[in-house]
């Protein structure tokens, strides 16, 4: 199906696109037809710089995406326990918390 099921998240980060590194401020996540991966439907993520409209896109199988979610969570849990401190605050979410 062509769905309009789209999740958008404001993010603070960088990504490397076709013209080099750039700041990305939005992640767009949707589960629908991919462009490239040979699947009928995929979990697609666009990391977007809304000013230049450039994006870094990934298309993952559903199982791959779920595994990635688990690995991200595991990396965050272990990494933050060791490293989180001054200098790691996300300006976007730090500002929201103020």
């Amino acid at each position: 199906m062509c769905s309009y099921i789209t999740e958008k998240a404001p993010i603070f980060g960088s990504a490397k696109g076709r013209s080099g590194w750039m700041r990305v401020d939005t992640a767009v996540v949707y589960y629908d037809h991919p462009v490239h991966v040979p699947l009928d439907h995929a979990l697609n993520i666009d990391f977007v710089d809304s000013r230049s409209k450039e994006r870094v896109a990934v298309e993952l199988s559903a199982a791959s995406a779920r595994e990635l979610v688990r690995r991200i969570q595991a990396a965050l849990d272990s990494g933050e326990a060791i490293h989180l401190g001054s200098g790691d605050e996300d300006p976007l979410h730090f500002a929201r918390a103020m």
Binding site: M1, C2, T6, T26, H33, L39, D40, K53, E54, A57
Partner: protein, 247 residues
Amino acid sequence: MTYRNIICDVVPFTGHNGETGEAYYTRPAGPGPFPGVVLIHHIPGWNEFCIEAARKLAHPGFATLCNHLYFRMGDGDPDDIGARARAEGGVSDEQMLGDVAGAMAFLRAQSNANGKVGIIGFCSGGRQTYLSACRLPNVNAAVDCWGGRVMADPSALNAKQPVAPIDYSKDLNCPMLGLFGNDDKEPSPEQVNKTEAILKDLGKTYEFHRYDGAGHAFFDWSRPSYRPEQAMDGWNKVISFFNKNLG
């Protein structure tokens, strides 16, 4: 028998609100007169499948225009522009209708046009075809290929798509061909049955064909959903239907 020459160009066309966009225009070579077809691309955008499908219609004699519904969203590769459109929830039905009306006017304005214009759309474009066939005047034939959300749950309606196309069914003013895979979930076989029942009750002219062993997008040779046997039969039905109603 020989193969017909076709001509292909990317051309400007005038869409909704008089704005100029780009469209892929492919048509038979020769004096005509030729019927026209507007091909509405699906949510992922103005992609290779839709462009090739346009050429497939040009070979048997249909001047076909596939207008880029996302032309207002800046420059870039069609898949990047498609991603921008998706992030914004697609385009509004009103804007789409204005663009399709402009595409139809483009085709009718050609010196070798026969004056008849049909519409075909795939996936979300199937939904938009159903809507266009109900809302726009002077559509001569419409082909809905597995259009999802023709019947929409109220929770799926929003400012851009405020009314489910099925609710305009009484205004359908041309013959409609519908092609569906029985393994599809959107539209499901139950939704297809309900749509057909409504068209039947309203006394509309339609042909619905359902394919076993096929799901969504079974024409799309770039996806695992491709079903060659069902696709070949479906294309034959599309071309026969347009010959019958646009010739």
